[in-house]
Subunit: 366 residues, 4 copies
């Protein structure tokens, strides 16, 4: 039980259901002295906000965040930062239809089995809405990392079978299209494919890529809390994610060692890798290069197409799900991936602070 | 710091380096009353043991496990089970060559950066040898799961570009060939490919598949400790693993919702899914079906081929690594994946015991 | 860092400062299916509420609790229960005086040293106000325990040197006087002593006793998470508590073994202890008898009497603290002790659910 | 379950039973670069070692510690430090008498109830022998603390009703007498009292005092992981301890605020307290002064005097326990208290390393 907390040092606990009064989170362990206000958090929430385009649910939530504690005179105090986001458009009536049926691809059946009981309003705790709380926490993590020159950048790498062309990759472009693809041409093509799926009462999936730049070498804790292992947990904990890979990932399975290994070289006193197949970690610790990982996102399970299922009383039925659903989850999940990566990195940044005696020497005078 | 523990309820802590006197682990939280002896553990260790074939290091370790605590009169007592495995063939002299150089693809550089210092003997803590301790713990987890009809089965799904043919899949065959492939024909073909790589002073990688059968629905803790999320951490914490996917995994990215969703049906009073694209979890909880996941394993980084690197003093050099190295890690990693999956499942099985009041009612009389 | 969470299974995280907009907590891990509403929680909060008598601060807070998540159709869902209590009477102006001075007996100096910075409004995070969040969580724990016949009862055992007379001990009486003493005569005498201290611009302390009845034997986890050890942490985590003892406590130091040991006897098939010097635990586990422990509470540090201190800029000054302060903390801390004991017991009740294979057998069919 | 680990950052896990082949522990999270060898650990173990005098069990254990991992070329590597201590004098035959009876004052009954089963050989896991593993870990903690000028000093403050005279207090004297009392006269008097109890087939208890010197201000994590709260858990987790108090402790209950509060003063630029009633913490954080706490230790439960009890089959019997038992636990527990205090302090020292942004600035270059 009690799986609502992530991180040991920079510790995030989320709460709330799709159709309660509000959702939120607590960030405990954020170092004191970080300048922080709601203006630092809202922009990341706005990237996840519903209703921004035809590709996202039309549920009109403003997702306005309120900081309830942990900040005083514009700085973090070192005590828990509680944040709350109101649910203003619950419309529970929408969901009366699904109270007595298990939606395919959703957590309805498993919640019922685990708890003997479930909040059937819009998925309850398993709703994508929970991720807004993660993004609020992720915005704080991103601000903390920025102090040390660390930057996390996630983006839609592939949607409905259309991939970003590496030659047209542009970070600036990402925020200019509604699919958050860093390639205008690919975005246009993907948008057409998403539209086609929706016209067919169906949905599509895709892949999210993520870079972490500016990392010092050595983040990640051998042997179970490796950087990549904690990233994998963080990313797979996002509802629709079905896969995680770092560096060459699954392609590494078919490479030879002489290709997959990254050599080292000393260039003007700086040691760096001669290539980057590892994705920025070695032995589970950041290797000083750019971290690069990818997450596979399944197609939205809520579709209008008829599907077979059973009712909570065991009757075989078919269901067609109408309502305010995204035909593709990927664009809104981009900022969630970015947030979870920032949280994971912050946690390991703090964990690493006491890795060696010489670090403690700098803090505690001998 | 302190990343050597996995699990909250069934809690495994490993210790030891490649060239210390011994390695081992503690399993804390195993329920009392489980019949257990070294004979339950040794067979799984023997599957990982080096020197079994031309595909594995020739380092002659017997990997004999000793239970030091937690078992009395043939049963677990509920207290920590400590296990130790001697290192009998350290031959540190072999490693003097690498004391002053960062091996490509290994953790040498990152350990040095993190701790300012490293045990250069055979990788020290980052050696694959550490996984023997995980297998000892995994054998206990597997025995515990077996009490409830839960079985974990991992296997080599692809090696050096050669995949198991689903039509020839045979669980019995897995243990009959040295590559642990459940398809004799594929194993033969893959063996030839591994040999070719070795003849070329190179190494290969592959993919490990894993099934978990017999699971009750509802294991896994929303939202961060989802079954798939904890499995992902567990599997990525194994040294050479670069990717994890469950069910359709990365292929789900290109599916439409109407295909990827699994329907439900009631057949003679039993509710089951009409297909299995999810890989046995929904919303991060086991859905009552078979769990199926895959792990990508990179090629062995230790190769005799010349590679560029730098010394600890920053000199650019080339290195050719000779010694007792596996040309492919996959076969020996199969039982490690199986072990980590069993540990994860055991942990979540215990975690779930108090998920609902009605479960507690069965334990504590009202 | 990140010390705002207590418990591993029944996990409570509190947030909030004395003068923020609100305070609150998350209870994660409460089993699903427990009937719960604000009406179950408010009565315990009302026992802690300020302004009830001349012995407590006159700050007029209603301490009305709102459940924000985790409860659906009147029952807990197994997901995190978030609760919020508004701060309606912050009056920060009151505290401008203390912004630049370290109050004796308070955490002002240590917060400044630890975080380089502090919320000087009413103690911020170290304010007794934080304990309201604990009481809200404690009320849920108490309700959970009640399902299994377990009851926690705390009371003022001694105030300003006046102790409850065991011969006049009455549980019903506790809630009839403002000092929460289960002895009307002692309460009257103690009240006079408190008044005398206040008249002298001073404050007093006391001792809180606590019983836990109805416990099954075996709660508590050897060796570090013993029942008494976790209780001790829980109780010492309350601001003004300076000591904890169980059973004979410090008196045991002067007893002989033949007196301090409790024998066992079988009376009509029920095994019970022949005496109770242990306080209801043996080897850190509940022994089937009543748990009894005591907590020492220091006198309120905020007093009008002149005290020596220094300003944040290092100037030697004297300070006289006026405002809305309790002349004695003990009465309002009674329900906090009860809450922390209930939380601890709930946590260990859940932890114990998987202690033996035969318990799991009852939950998971073999 | 799984209560064998203490600490989150400096994390100690113990294993082993009184009559297994060996006992031991893992220290995970010790910073890399600390010079460490068995010679740093053995002296603390020797202080706990049995058979040193007529006041301790005559079981002849050498308690020789072996470091199995985590140290390379004389320094800690940052990876888990595993240590093992052989049990060389198990003599299980001694304990056949108690296999079928619950010893008063021991954990026999509660282990049986919790686990349905117990290792009856000498108390198994609940034996005082387990504390040897804590001392091994404590010695490492003490060495780490010494790097920063922090020193923990515990001693017998009272035995069999005889207290150390503060005017004769001498740290040097502590190690000169077998009772570890820092007052030769009191030690002599107490020794006579212990002898008298033993002659009467009985046992005695006492109080252990402990100082921690050289602490920086700010250690301890609000609100649940306060320094005093974690110390309380650590100390109550030692088998025979029945009470914990810090500073004035239970005496504070009867003081007035004007007496109990410690003022502050600036003397030549150094801020210090004008008195020390708090025991060195304020708001759960170290206040820059000396920490002082006390632990109440019950009399040894194993006595030759006849006691009433029941057999595992429920028969009422009397029992007289002969064998190798200490007539007083206090002297040997002194070093265990010192160890647990050192472990707690180390854990909070590491936890505090990331409390404020300015500390991280010193480690990670901006």
């Amino acid at each position: 039980m009690a799986g609502s907390t992530f991180g040991s040092y920079f510790r995030v606990t989320t709460w709330g259901e799709s159709h309660g009064t509000s959702i939120g989170c607590i960030v405990d362990g954020c170092p004191a002295g970080l300048e922080l206000g709601e203006a630092d958090i809202q922009p990341m929430l706005d990237r996840r906000k519903p209703g921004q385009s035809q590709f996202t649910t039309q549920r009109p939530e403003s997702d306005t965040v309120h900081i309830l504690s942990g900040v005083f005179e514009g700085k973090t105090t070192g005590t828990p930062i509680a944040m709350e986001i109101a649910n203003t458009s619950q419309r529970s009536a929408d969901y009366s239809q699904i109270a007595k049926v298990y939606r395919p691809g959703h957590a309805d059946y498993t919640f019922q089995q685990k708890y003997g009981f479930r909040d059937y309003r819009g998925g309850g705790r398993s709703s994508g809405r929970e991720t807004a709380a993660r993004v609020a926490a992720g915005a704080i993590a991103a601000k903390l990392l920025a102090q040390f020159g660390i930057c996390v950048f996630a983006y839609s790498e592939r949607i409905a079978g259309v991939s970003v062309d590496p030659e047209h990759f542009s970070r600036e472009e990402r925020d200019k299209n509604k699919l958050y693809m860093p390639d205008a041409g690919a975005a246009e093509e993907a948008a057409a494919a998403v539209e086609a799926a929706r016209a067919d009462t169906d949905s599509v999936g895709g892949i999210i890529g993520c870079f972490i730049d500016g990392l010092p070498a050595g983040l990640g804790e051998p042997v179970f809390d490796k950087f990549d292992a904690k990233l994998a947990q963080a990313i797979l904990s996002i509802g629709a994610v079905k896969g995680f890979e770092i560096g060459e990932g699954f392609d590494a399975a078919d490479l030879r060692g002489s290709i997959d290994n990254d050599g080292f070289e000393n260039v003007d006193g700086v040691i760096r890798k001669t290539s980057d197949h590892s994705g920025g970690t070695l032995g589970g610790m950041s290797d000083g290069g750019q971290v690069y990982f990818r997450a596979a996102v399944k197609p939205t399970p809520s579709i209008a197409k008829q599907q077979r299922t059973v009712t909570t009383e065991g009757e075989n039925v078919t269901i067609s799900i109408h309502g305010r659903h995204d035909p593709v989850i990927v664009p809104r999940a981009v900022v969630v991936v970015e947030s979870m990566a920032a949280i994971t990195t912050s946690d390991l940044l703090l964990a690493n602070a006491s890795a060696k005696l010489s670090s403690l020497d700098k803090i505690y005078q001998r």
